[in-house]
């Protein structure tokens, strides 16, 4: 764990730096994939930037809205460089909505665009795991296994290392595109399905799970719902693709 690096008077947050590197690598991969899928790579790049900016601004505004009077009294605090005052989940939703609206307005085709984003998102997940390892976030449950690590006053599962390993495996699978055809959206769905499955499995080794009634880990329940929906859409899209291919075959035979 190495969360901060002191550079003279500045205290550099290494996990944040890692996330920025992840965004940069992810964007580059998405642009490359967009070009391969014959999509306008500038628009895909803009889609990512719009999503990111809207997400960050939205996260700060959502946080400020919860403490409205404090921020009305000190509006300049909205500009504070403090990650503690970002509403993460709200920011994620706002960023997603902004990116979807941008893609819709610019008439980016849904499935090829999702496929273009897949390798970049997979790379970002690896960076996220490394950021967790540096910050000590997403820490594991206590254990006495030989590969356990000492963190937060306990010997624990190295859950961040599990997370990185799973993300690296998923990245290589997504990068190789073993299923579907270029731009049919299946590669993106596969990324979501694999990431959900990995979270469901690895959450059992986490020491910071949010627990719902009945002792259920919230992330596992949400992960199961996302996995079900993703597999269902995957099936529908794959069937539609097959039907399209058959129609194409028949029409070609008819011409002959």
């Amino acid at each position: 764990m190495y969360p901060y690096l002191r550079l003279g008077p500045f205290l550099l947050q290494l996990p944040l730096l890692l996330l920025l590197v992840g965004v940069w690598i992810g964007s580059s991969l998405a642009e490359k994939e967009a070009a391969r899928l014959k999509l306008p790579s500038t628009l895909v790049s803009n889609l990512i930037i719009v999503g990111l900016i809207a997400g960050i601004v939205g996260a700060r505004l959502a946080y400020a809205a919860r403490y409205l009077q404090a921020y009305l009294d000190n509006p300049l605090s909205l500009l504070a460089l403090n990650v503690n005052t970002l509403a993460g989940f709200d920011g994620l939703l706002i960023g997603l909505v902004a990116a979807i609206l941008y893609g819709w307005r610019r008439k980016l085709p849904l499935r090829p665009t999702l496929d273009a984003l897949a390798p970049g998102l997979a790379a970002f997940m690896v960076a996220l795991g490394v950021a967790h390892l540096l910050s000590g976030d997403a820490f594991g449950a206590p254990t006495d296994l030989p590969w356990s690590i000492y963190l937060w006053s306990e010997v624990r599962h190295p859950s961040q290392v599990y997370e990185i390993l799973a993300a690296v495996v998923i990245f290589f699978i997504v990068y190789k595109r073993p299923l579907g055809q270029a731009g049919d959206g299946i590669n993106f769905l596969m990324l979501v399905a694999l990431s959900s499955a990995a979270r469901i499995f690895l959450e059992a080794f986490r020491g910071d799970s949010v627990i719902w009634p009945g002792g259920f880990r919230a992330v596992q329940v949400v992960g199961l719902i996302i996995l079900s929906i993703t597999l269902y859409i995957m099936r529908i899209w794959a069937r539609a693709q097959e039907a399209e291919e058959k129609r194409h075959e028949i029409s070609e035979k008819g011409i002959l």
Partner: protein, 175 residues
């Protein structure tokens, strides 16, 4: 598809946590959100001493600072203002001076200059800095009534709105 989902559901069921284990982290003292704040007893500037665990039942803000640190200087008036506003609601602010890297005369002058009215514990041997894994000044810990750390802000300066938002969260919790 059904096999994958069944496996996932089975694993989710198997890896449920008993209610007693759900809050296990809160029993361990370590300087991180969600854990118990490490206890300390320090002498106060101007006489007397203070023990963190004796403040259980009140929300506590522990701010580690030094008189030579520019962001500490920048955020201290905001901390003092928030303390004045919420003191009556039970808020306790401890401005822990990292005396092992400062000196008591400078700390006293700083307190006078800024008109600080909250207690200033003196970390003369640096033990609290070590306990709290201090990596940069200022660092602030927002601790709830049960003694659990709810937020950590490393570096600064914090704006008044940031401090106020964190303190309001602590005060919202029922005593």
């Amino acid at each position: 598809m059904i096999v994958v989902l069944s496996l996932g559901a089975g694993w989710t069921l198997l890896s449920r946590l008993p209610p007693a284990a759900a809050n296990a982290a809160e029993q361990i003292a370590t300087p991180r959100e969600g854990f118990m704040a490490p206890d300390f007893n320090l002498d106060l500037l101007g006489g007397g001493d203070i023990t963190l665990s004796e403040l259980r039942g009140k929300p506590v803000v522990v701010n580690l600072w030094a008189s030579w640190c520019p962001p500490c200087r920048a955020e201290m008036p905001a901390i003092q203002k928030v303390y004045q506003d919420y003191q009556e609601l039970g808020l306790v602010v401890l401005g822990v001076n990292t005396t092992n890297q400062d000196n008591e005369a400078d700390a006293a002058a700083f307190v006078r200059d800024y008109g600080l009215t909250f207690p200033i514990p003196l970390d003369r041997d640096g033990s609290v800095s070590i306990q709290y894994e201090l990596r940069g000044l200022p660092t602030t810990f927002f601790i709830d009534r049960k003694g659990i750390i709810r937020s950590v802000v490393v570096g600064g300066p914090m704006s008044e709105a940031v401090i106020r938002s964190k303190v309001e969260d602590l005060l919202k919790e029922t005593p």
